[in-house]
């Protein structure tokens, strides 16, 4: 990493001159700073959030009344497919990645991630992959077979729509795979002196679990996507029963990825909530080890429940029993987390700041999603519920009222650290309450709609089904959510005009990212803190007196004890820090991938061109030292 000394002869490598800009467009294209990449991830994901949200509003407009005329069936199918793809792959995953990129090095006391250029590569692949999928709207039609892309519908329907799905997800998946390795290595190898695994903040633990989930689940969907791509584009028969293939094979491959994916989406939010609650309840996380181990348990069991998405496909009573029971088991560690969060609040000194409201909202609403999840594990009940709006209600309580609320909590919590400016608490609370009302108005009625017979993915429904009222309520709720997002945008704009005066530790927090300035300097810490305990910063600020009372530590007290260790163990001494140099090559290499994608869909010469760009990028990259000698 940063401190590796570079032999001078390797400086000759690199065809392009090393970029030197520190501001402006090219500085962002060539940056390898985990904080700037985190910002890119976050900004891009938020823009996709607005796009995916707009699609949702159109869907809700179409369904507001029976026999709706807003969207044609063809457009509706594109919109609900793109809404799912966008929110999962282009919003929640990269928004989590934004927090991980920005916060992991700061929270473990590192100067950057393990592979900074690989990190930049991940971002550019994600961005270009997302744009690639969206370019389908201009190139003959967007994916229209659902985010689950069931074969054989996805492989026999005419048009390139589902080719953009399989190819696009292969590209976006590559970004996540690369990033998973990068962040896992970072967490395992680059923690500050003294930060043992069980002194890591829970957000770091959950991030680590997520990286392993990604690393083990993405290869499975990759196989499936290649098979779907080959069936559609090259006439293979993986999922074609007439030639001996099996459509159910796709469902196994998809959900063996797709269920761990649910935890990939929600565990980071759980980690964020586990950071926010102790700070604003002014108590340590209750049962830290149990919260960590239940996160790990969820990760493991998450690989053993996939067929609960397939109870109605005819797997037979033995498989349905086994997956019903494994799905019930996963409720246990989930419950443990919720009870420990309640334990954290108990006897606390709770301050209802905006991040705290979002964290509490996460818990209150996630409980609903969790309980409806248990009713899915009751297999016969699921015969009624699966593929209805009841399921839509369930997973939006988990992913919107849960994950998105947790992520917004994280935004409000870490915003001053990232931008050096506070967000308005007043607007933040308005945002929270409107969003909470909107979320429950939208997704609450969907439970009833599903149980009363409304299937998912229907473009319309007849008046005779008696579903009009609750659909209208859900539509009103969706626009309420949209209003709350506007309030958030106003809050951000107002904040950016405020003075950059956020203190290093505005919340009286507990973890070491609050020890450096807001925003942090490019090298993160002037001196990397030596960690002596969980909640290191808290223990530097407060001590427990003999009678159990907590008293502040006088400034300059025991907080100075780390100085004796200093930075010497890192071999960086007082020579300043060596940060990896910016590079053109990650973005260049990433540019090759969508070109290959277009080549697969349209014409082989584009694939050749894309491969050439990719190889050129990788070649220049491998010849270029990560740290330019002149930068010293």
């Amino acid at each position: 990493m940063a401190s590796v000394s570079v032999p001078s002869e390797s400086a000759r490598g690199g065809v392009l001159r090393r970029p030197t800009a520190t501001t402006g467009f090219w500085s962002w294209v060539t940056t390898v700073d985990h904080k700037r990449i985190g910002l890119l991830y976050g900004g891009t994901a938020f823009l996709f959030f607005l796009v995916g949200g707009t699609e949702a509003l159109f869907i809700r407009l179409q369904l507001a009344q029976p026999n709706g005329q807003v969207l044609s069936a063809a457009t509706y199918n594109e919109f609900f497919t793109m809404h799912g793809l966008t929110m999962i792959f282009l919003v929640v995953m990269p928004l989590s990645a934004a927090f991980m990129n920005y916060m992991i090095p700061l929270m473990i006391g590192a100067r950057d991630v393990a592979f900074p250029r690989l990190n930049a590569f991940s971002y550019w692949v994600f961005l270009l992959g997302g744009l690639f999928i969206y370019s389908s709207f201009l190139l003959g039609g967007a994916p229209n077979g659902g985010w689950f892309g069931y074969a054989p519908l996805s492989t026999v329907e005419p048009g390139n729509n589902m080719l953009f799905y399989s190819t696009g997800l292969l590209i976006v998946g590559l970004a996540s795979t690369v990033s998973a390795i990068n962040l896992a290595v970072t967490i395992l190898n680059m923690r500050a002196t003294g930060m043992s695994l069980f002194r890591m903040p829970v957000f770091i633990w959950m991030s680590l679990v997520v990286q392993f989930l990604l690393a083990f689940s993405l290869p499975i969907i990759t196989v499936g996507l290649f098979e779907a791509l080959f069936d559609k584009r090259f006439g293979t028969h993986f999922f074609d029963p007439a030639a001996g293939g099996d459509p159910i094979l796709w469902q196994h491959l998809f959900w063996l990825f797709g269920h761990p994916e649910v935890y990939i989406l929600v565990l980071p939010a759980m980690g964020i909530v586990s950071e926010i609650l102790p700070v604003f309840a002014r108590k340590p996380l209750f049962g830290y080890q149990f919260v960590v181990f239940s996160g790990i348990a969820i990760g493991f069991i998450g690989f053993g429940v996939w067929a609960h998405h397939m109870f109605a496909t005819g797997l037979g009573p033995v498989a349905n029993t086994a997956f019903g029971i494994s799905t019930m088991i996963i409720a246990i560690p989930t419950g443990v987390k919720i009870f420990n969060w309640l334990g954290t609040l108990w006897r606390g000194d709770i301050r209802f700041t905006t991040p705290m409201l979002f964290a509490l909202g996460f818990i209150a609403q996630f409980v609903i999603g969790g309980l409806s999840g248990v009713t899915h594990a009751v297999v016969p009940a699921d015969y009624q519920q699966t593929d209805t709006y009841y399921v839509v209600a369930h997973f939006h309580y988990v992913l919107f009222a849960g994950a998105i609320f947790g992520l917004f909590g994280g935004l409000y919590y870490w915003w001053p650290k990232i931008f050096g400016r506070m967000l308005s608490e007043r607007l933040g609370k308005v945002h929270f309450w409107i969003m909470a009302v909107g979320a429950n108005l939208t997704f609450g009625p969907m439970h009833i709609l599903g149980l009363q017979g409304m299937p998912r993915r229907v473009q319309t429904y007849t008046p005779s089904l008696g579903l009009g009222v609750w659909n209208l309520v859900a539509t009103v709720g969706a626009f309420t959510i949209a209003v709350s997002v506007l309030v958030f945008i106003v809050n951000v704009l107002v904040s950016l005009r405020r003075p950059k005066d956020a203190p290093a530790d505005p919340w009286d927090a507990r973890t070491i990212e609050w020890m450096t300035s807001s925003p942090p300097p490019p090298h993160n810490f002037d001196e990397i803190p030596v960690v002596h305990s969980l909640d290191e910063l808290w223990h530097r600020k407060y001590a427990e007196a003999e009678d159990g009372k907590v008293v502040p530590v006088p400034t300059g007290g025991s907080g100075g004890r780390e100085e004796s260790h200093g930075e010497g163990s890192h071999g960086e001494g007082s020579h300043g820090t060596h940060l990896p140099s910016p590079s053109y090559y990650p973005a260049l290499a990433a540019l090759g991938l969508p070109l290959i994608g277009y080549g697969v869909i349209f014409h082989w010469w584009m694939a050749i061109a894309g491969a050439a760009v990719l190889l050129a990028g990788l070649y220049g990259w491998s010849l270029e030292p990560s740290l330019e000698p002149t930068a010293e």
Partner: protein, 364 residues
């Protein structure tokens, strides 16, 4: 403000409970009308109430804790730093596990109960999913019909969910999908899901395999159903009805369906329509039992069998009620009525449409 919101949420919760009991939903899994759906409902109801109790306990605890331990102005000092409690951890691991065991036992027994093979006086029906309509084949009664499934009240109906087209790789269809030569298909052979919420849970119709389902109605009546697995453009228009009849009415219906199609009177408009039907492209997809063309029966079965079309209440995947004006609308431009319809617009003249509709309406 918080109080207002809480009151609002309370009102919403009340409204939700009220709506759950709303009587106007016509495809409602909460209103089971037969033993199979009843078994599911009897399992779901206690699980729902257990979940409701846990919901109120956890949310109550959350709100109580948040309010009781809220920061009060002037509070000095920092709360005691409690790191955990192993007894509590054990308790809230084991208690939910015990509750789940209590839920799992009836769940498993119901799974096996629903998967049994019914015995005794059982009506067998093969259900075939097409893009985007349902075909119903009564192999013992030799009836082939579409969009309306007639069943006798009080008897289990054993449904085989059969794939259309080349679903079985040239092999004989497994189990009971024994239509000679398989079920032809005009659309793509994709996955559908057969769902009549008031009579049973759903089962997918998967190309290449045969799933089964037990269906039974306790009371005569019409039960609404529709495809529940996304299957392309007209997924929302793939509806059907189950019509449960007393055994006598059902037997009468069977006899009527087994009869040949009616022949319209010479010289009538319907007779002109019949000639158009038999000479035109209709018989490329639609079978009709009785009339012959070139000495051969009309047996194509890629589209719905129309022998007794006019005996049904709905057509085109139950998108439309069966009326003369709807038939005219349909024949004028099928894809305009049902997105992506595999029956193309044949650009029929108004006269042709009138004659065809006159003929179709005789097919009681």
């Amino acid at each position: 403000m918080r109080k207002v919101t809480r009151r609002g949420l309370g009102a919403i919760a009340l409204a939700l409970v009220a709506a759950a009991c709303a009587p106007n939903a016509s495809q409602d899994s909460l209103k089971p009308a037969g033993p199979e759906a009843e078994k599911i409902h009897a399992l779901f109801t206690p699980v729902f109430w257990i979940a409701a109790v846990i919901f109120f306990l956890v949310e109550g605890l959350l709100f109580y804790t948040a309010i009781r331990f809220r920061h009060r102005k002037g509070r000095q000092g920092i709360p005691p730093q409690i790191h955990g409690n192993n007894r509590l951890e054990i308790a809230w691991t084991i208690l939910p596990a015990l509750i789940l065991v209590g839920v799992a036992v009836p769940t498993v027994s119901t799974i096996y109960d629903l998967a049994r093979t019914p015995t005794g006086n059982v009506l067998h029906v093969n259900v075939v999913g097409h893009q985007w309509w349902w075909e119903f084949d009564y192999p013992d009664q030799k009836i082939l019909t579409a969009n309306e499934l007639h069943i006798p009240v009080g008897e289990p109906v054993y449904v085989s969910l059969c794939a259309a087209g080349q679903g079985y790789a040239g092999q004989p269809a497994p189990n009971d999908c024994q239509q000679p030569g398989g079920y032809a298909s005009v659309g793509d052979d994709v996955i559908h899901s057969f769902w009549v919420p008031e009579l049973a849970g759903k089962q997918d119709v998967v190309p290449g395999r045969t799933n089964t389902l037990i269906l039974q109605a306790d009371r005569p009546g019409t039960y609404s159903g529709q495809c529940a697995e996304f299957c392309g453009l007209s997924h929302a228009y793939m509806r059907f009805k189950v019509i449960a009849q007393t055994p006598d009415e059902f037997a009468a219906w069977v006899r009527a369906q087994q009869a040949d199609a009616a022949t319209p009177a010479e010289g009538s408009l319907a007779a002109t329509g019949m000639q158009q039907f038999l000479n035109g492209q209709c018989i490329a997809c639609h079978a009709i039992q009785g009339p012959q063309v070139g000495g051969q029966p009309v047996t194509a079965n890629g589209g719905p069998n129309l022998t007794h079309l006019a005996s049904r209440d709905c057509f085109a995947g139950c998108t439309l009620d069966l009326t003369e004006s709807n038939l005219e609308r349909w024949l004028a431009d099928p894809p305009a009525v049902k997105p992506g319809s595999w029956m193309p617009n044949y650009h029929l003249s108004q006269d042709q449409i009138k004659a065809l509709v006159a003929y179709l309406m005789t097919l009681k």
